[in-house]
C-alpha cells in the first residue's frame, strides 16, 4: 500500500484489510514529515501483520514509485511466506466489496496475474504524444517541475535522432499502475539476474510505474489477465478521476473489488463500503463497463463540449466550434415574397417551427407573432443586432428537438449574420433570387422610389449571393432565379421538404398559393427603361405568356 497523504483514511483502510486477515506492507513517501509518519506508524502499531518498508521519494511519473513498490514487495514476500497474491493498492484506494470476496476470487485463480499490460502500438491511452518514444528516449527531467527542460530535452533527442536500445529485446508494455501479482511472478521479477539492467533502463523511461511491472510480468507470468482489479478512471489529461459521496450507487453497481481515487472527505463512501456486510454487492465478475460509459462521456464533454452551445465556460475560437449551431435549420429567401401563404403552408407541410423574417429591421418576426421565444429570447431588433450570432445560436439551442425555419431577404439586417449562416453546415439555405421585386411590383409607391429601392435590394442580394457561392460556404445552398423557379415550382419545393424530412411521406397534398404575377414582366421592363436593370430574377418575357400555367390556381401535383 503506497501512501503519501490523508493518513487517517489510509489507517482506516489498512485496518479494513488487516481485519480480513491480509498482511500489509505500507510504503510512505519520503517527503512526508517525520512527525506525521511517526504518528501514522504508531497508529497502526497494534496490528500484528503490518510492516513499513524503506521509504523512497515518490514523484509522479518517476522511478521512485517503482523503487517503492519493489522494496515493499520484497518485504512482503520475505516476511509473509504464506502470501500467494500481492495486491498493490494506494492510500486513496477503497475496497468496494468485502475483502473475503476478493480472497475467494483470487483463491479460485491461484495462477493468474491481474495486471493491465498492452503494447503502446495497440492502445490509444497515451496523452501528450509520447507513446513508443517513452521507451526509446531518456527522461531525466521531471515533467511536473521542469517542464521546459523536459520538453527541450525531448526535442533535442528527436532532432539528433537518438534512440535507446531496449535491453534483452523485451517488448515494452504499459497499463494501470495497480496490479495484483502472484508470488511466483513477483518473486521472479524481483530476483531476476538481469534486474540491474532492467532497473537501469527503466529509471529513465517516462512513467516507469506504468510500464516496469507491466513489461516484466510478460516475461514470467504463466497466465496474465490483462486488466486491473482496481477501478480507476482517468480524465482527458491522464489524471485519475476522484470519487465522491454521490458516486456511491455507481460504485456499487460496478461490482469492482477496489476503487481509486476516493476523496478523503467522502465520509459516506468510507462509511458505506468499510461496513458493508458480505453480499451487499452481487457476487459477480467486476463490471466497470457501466462506469466506463459515464466517464468517457465526461472526457468528451471536456474536450469536445456540446456542439452549438456558447456559454460562460465554452466559447470556442473560430474553427474549433465543432458545429456552429446545435441542430439543422432552414433558411428561405424569396419564398414568402413569391407565395402568399408560404409560412403557414410550410408549417403545415413539415410540422416544423416556421418564423417570419427573423432579421427584419423592425423586430425578430417569431412564429405566431410571439414577442419572446423559448429561453426568453426577445424579439427586440436592437438586442438581436447587438449580437446576431448569439441570437441565432441561442434560438437554435433553445429549441433543440424542433426544427426551425425562417425567412430572410435583402430587406433584413443580414450583413452581420450572413457569413455565419453560410459557414454553418447545419443551415439549409434555399434562395429564389429576385423575388424581392414582387412586393415592389404589388406596392403602391411612386415608381422613382420603387426604382431606387429595387436598385438597393438587388445590390444587397447580389452581395449576399457572392457569400453563398464562396468556397468557404458550408451550408447546403440551393439557388434558383425567380424565372427558373416559377417554371416548375413543385419540384424544388418537394426537394427542400424531403430534405427537412419530417412526417411527410405522402408527398405534398397542398401547394402554396403563388402571387398573381400577370404584368410582372412589364414591371421589370419598366425598371429597365428607367436604367435599372433587374437581372437577379432571370429572363421574364415582357408580355404575359398565355401558355404559362395559371399560377394562382393550385396545380394538381401527383407523387406516386
Amino acid at each position: 500500500m503506497l501512501v503519501h497523504t490523508a493518513f487517517d483514511r489510509a489507517e482506516q483502510v489498512a485496518r479494513h484489510w488487516a481485519a480480513a486477515g491480509c498482511p500489509l506492507v505500507i510504503h510512505a513517501d519520503k517527503s512526508v514529515p517525520k512527525a506525521t509518519y511517526d504518528a501514522f506508524v504508531k497508529s497502526l502499531s497494534n496490528l500484528p501483520d503490518v510492516r513499513f518498508s524503506k521509504r523512497h521519494r515518490c514523484e509522479w511519473g518517476t522511478w521512485g514509485l517503482v523503487a517503492a513498490t519493489q522494496s515493499a514487495s520484497q518485504l512482503m514476500l520475505d516476511q509473509f511466506p504464506d502470501v500467494r497474491h500481492v495486491y498493490l493498492a494506494s492510500g486513496s484506494c477503497l475496497p468496494l466489496r468485502p475483502v473475503q470476496e476478493l480472497i475467494d476470487y483470487l483463491a479460485e485463480r491461484p495462477q493468474t496475474d491481474f495486471i493491465e499490460s498492452a503494447t503502446t502500438a495497440d492502445v490509444p491511452w497515451t496523452i501528450g504524444g509520447l507513446d513508443q518514444e517513452r521507451f526509446t528516449l531518456r527522461f531525466p527531467f521531471s515533467w511536473r517541475k521542469h517542464r521546459y527542460l523536459f520538453d527541450r530535452y525531448v526535442a533535442l533527442q528527436r532532432a539528433v535522432g537518438y534512440k535507446r536500445r531496449i535491453p534483452n529485446g523485451i517488448v515494452p508494455h504499459m497499463g494501470s499502475q495497480w496490479w495484483c501479482l502472484t508470488r511466483q511472478t513477483l518473486s521472479a521479477i524481483l530476483s531476476d539476474p538481469e534486474r540491474e539492467t532492467y532497473d537501469r533502463y527503466f529509471k529513465t523511461v517516462w512513467i516507469p510505474d506504468e510500464s516496469y511491472f507491466q513489461t516484466l510480468a510478460r516475461q514470467y507470468s504463466r497466465q496474465i489477465e490483462s486488466r486491473s482489479l482496481t477501478l480507476s478512471k482517468f480524465d482527458y489529461q491522464g489524471k485519475p478521476h476522484i470519487f465522491y459521496d454521490d458516486h456511491l450507487q455507481l460504485l456499487r453497481r460496478s461490482d469492482c473489488f477496489v476503487a481509486r481515487k476516493i476523496w478523503p472527505f467522502a465520509n459516506r463512501l468510507y462509511d458505506a463500503f468499510l461496513t458493508d456486510k458480505a453480499g451487499a454487492m452481487k457476487q459477480t465478475e467486476p463490471n466497470p463497463g457501466k462506469i466506463d460509459r459515464i466517464f468517457a462521456k465526461a472526457v468528451e464533454r471536456r474536450t469536445r463540449g456540446r456542439p452549438g452551445l456558447l456559454m460562460q465556460s465554452r466559447f470556442p475560437v473560430e474553427g474549433r466550434e465543432n458545429g456552429l449551431t446545435c441542430a439543422q435549420y432552414s433558411v428561405f429567401e424569396g419564398f414568402s415574397d413569391l407565395f402568399e401563404n408560404f409560412e403557414t403552408w410550410l408549417a403545415k407541410a413539415t410540422g416544423t417551427r416556421v418564423h417570419g423574417h427573423l432579421f427584419a429591421p423592425g423586430r425578430a418576426e417569431f412564429s405566431e407573432r410571439q414577442t419572446v421565444m423559448n429561453g426568453a429570447l426577445s424579439d427586440s431588433a436592437s438586442l438581436r443586432d447587438y449580437n446576431p450570432r448569439a441570437f441565432l445560436t441561442s434560438l437554435i439551442w433553445n429549441t433543440r428537438g424542433e426544427r426551425q425555419c425562417f425567412q430572410m431577404g435583402p430587406r433584413d439586417h443580414v450583413k452581420k449574420i450572413e457569413w455565419y449562416i453560410a459557414k454553418d453546415p447545419n443551415a439549409q439555405i434555399s434562395v429564389i433570387t429576385g423575388a424581392w421585386a414582387v412586393p415592389l411590383f404589388k406596392s403602391n409607391a411612386n415608381f422613382s422610389d420603387i426604382r431606387q429601392e429595387a436598385a438597393r435590394l438587388q445590390q444587397t442580394e447580389s452581395k449576399h449571393l457572392e457569400v453563398l457561392r464562396s468556397p468557404w460556404t458550408k451550408a447546403r445552398v440551393r439557388i434558383w432565379t425567380m424565372a427558373e423557379f416559377i417554371e416548375a415550382p413543385m419540384e424544388p419545393l418537394q426537394t427542400i421538404i424531403d430534405e427537412i424530412g419530417q412526417q411527410n411521406l405522402r408527398g405534398l397534398s397542398e401547394v402554396p398559393r403563388m402571387s398573381d404575377l400577370s404584368g410582372f414582366g412589364q414591371f421589370l421592363q419598366n425598371l429597365k427603361n428607367q436604367g435599372m436593370h433587374p437581372y437577379l430574377m432571370g429572363d421574364f418575357p415582357v408580355a404575359h405568356d398565355p401558355h404559362e400555367p395559371q399560377q394562382n390556381k393550385p396545380k394538381p401535383y401527383l407523387v406516386q
Partner: protein, 340 residues
C-alpha cells in the same frame, strides 16, 4: 510589430494591476475594524469577502447557504448600514467585520476595500468574492462541499472558477411576494431567463463579456450595450498580488480570466443566483436612484431605476422555472466539464 503588441499589453496590464493594488492599499485606512476574528482562519480555509449596505433581509440566508457549502470565514465590509446589519454580523461567530462611511463608488464599488482585505487575509486561500444578493452554486453543490471543488480545481491546475449571474424573479409584480429573512429567496424568485445570453471576448483582459438575462430583456432592449454584465469570476485561489479589475467580472493577472475553453470543450463552471428582485428592491431602487453610487455614469441608468420603482412584472411566457442545478447544467448555463 504585431508580435510585440501582446508583450506590451501584458506589461501595461502589469502596471495597471500594481496601480489597483496601490489604490487598495491607500483606501485601507478607510476601513475601521468592528470585530476581527481573522485569527480563527486556519490553513486551507475557504473565505468569503462581501461588501454590504442595508442587507439585513438577505444576510441570514446568505450566511446559512455559504456556511453549508463550506465557507469557513466571512470578511465583511459594512458601508454605512442603518438597518442593524453591522450588529447582526458582529454577532456571527465566523464573521470579521469592518465598517466604513466612505463612498462605495469611489472605492470601485467596494473592490478597493475587498482587495485590501484579501491581500491581507486571503493570501493562499480559496476566496469567494460576492455581493449579499448572490448565492453561489456549482455542479454537485448539494452533495459535494466547496473543499471538494477547490481540491479538484487545484488538481486541474486552475486558480479561478467562473460563474454566470442568473437574475431570478417572481411571477407577478415584485412587491407581491412577501419574504421573511432566513427563508429561501428562490421559493418565490424561481423564474429566470434561460437562453438569451450574449457573449463577447474582451481582447485586452481576455475575459468573456456576457450580457443578457431578464434585465437586458426588460430594461435595456434599446441600449443593449448598457445591459449589465453577467459573467463573474467569484472563486479564486487568492494571491496578494491579484486584483479584481471591474467588480468580480475580470481579474489581473489575465490568466485568471481563462475560465472558459476555446477549443470547443467545456470547462466546469457555476452559477450566482441573484436575489436582487426580492420585494425590497422597489423601495431600495428609489433610494439608489438618489444615491447614485452603483454605476460609473449613474444618469444613464435613471430609466432603469424608474422602471423598477414602478414595480414591474418581469415574468413572461418563455421564462424558465428553477428546479435544480442539474437543470441549469442541462440547459447549458453552467457546466460540469469533466468533474463528474
Amino acid at each position: 510589430m504585431a508580435v510585440l503588441n501582446d508583450p506590451i499589453l501584458a506589461y501595461r496590464l502589469r502596471w495597471k494591476r500594481r496601480r489597483l493594488l496601490f489604490r487598495a492599499l491607500r483606501k485601507r485606512p478607510q476601513l475601521r475594524s468592528v470585530i476581527n476574528r481573522t485569527d480563527q482562519i486556519a490553513k486551507g480555509d475557504i473565505l468569503a469577502a462581501v461588501t454590504v449596505r442595508n442587507e439585513m433581509v438577505r444576510l441570514p440566508y446568505f450566511l446559512e447557504h455559504h456556511r453549508r457549502l463550506g465557507v469557513a470565514h466571512f470578511l465583511f465590509v459594512d458601508n454605512n448600514s442603518n438597518d442593524g446589519t453591522p450588529e447582526f454580523l458582529a454577532r456571527q461567530p465566523d464573521v470579521s467585520l469592518w465598517g466604513t462611511p466612505h463612498s462605495y463608488k469611489l472605492s470601485r464599488f467596494g473592490m478597493d476595500w475587498l482587495t485590501a482585505l484579501l491581500a491581507r487575509h486571503g493570501h493562499g486561500h480559496w476566496c469567494l468574492t460576492l455581493d449579499a444578493d448572490e448565492i453561489f452554486i456549482y455542479p454537485h453543490h448539494d452533495t459535494r462541499p466547496l473543499p471538494a471543488l477547490t481540491d479538484w480545481l487545484e488538481r486541474e491546475g486552475r486558480d479561478s472558477f467562473g460563474a454566470l449571474m442568473l437574475d431570478m424573479y417572481p411571477k407577478g409584480r415584485l412587491s407581491e411576494h412577501a419574504y421573511h429573512p432566513g427563508d429561501d429567496p428562490f421559493s418565490a424568485l424561481c423564474w429566470f431567463d434561460g437562453g438569451n445570453y450574449m457573449i463577447q471576448r474582451k481582447p485586452d483582459l481576455q475575459n468573456l463579456w456576457i450580457q443578457g438575462g431578464v434585465r437586458a430583456r426588460c430594461f435595456f432592449g434599446d441600449e443593449p450595450r448598457r445591459a449589465p454584465t453577467m459573467g463573474k469570476i467569484p472563486l479564486v485561489r487568492w494571491n496578494r498580488r491579484f486584483a479584481y479589475v471591474s467588480s468580480t467580472h475580470s481579474l489581473l493577472p489575465r490568466r485568471l480570466n481563462h475560465v472558459y475553453a476555446e477549443d470547443g470543450g467545456e470547462m466546469a463552471s457555476g452559477i450566482l443566483m441573484h436575489s436582487k428582485f426580492l420585494n425590497v428592491i422597489v423601495d431600495k431602487s428609489a433610494e439608489e436612484k438618489r444615491r447614485r453610487e452603483h454605476f460609473a455614469n449613474s444618469d444613464l441608468y435613471d430609466t432603469y431605476y424608474d422602471s423598477l420603482i414602478e414595480d414591474p412584472d418581469l415574468w413572461c411566457g418563455a421564462s424558465t422555472k428553477y428546479i435544480s442545478w442539474r437543470q441549469l447544467e442541462a440547459m447549458g448555463l453552467m457546466s460540469k466539464g469533466n468533474w463528474i
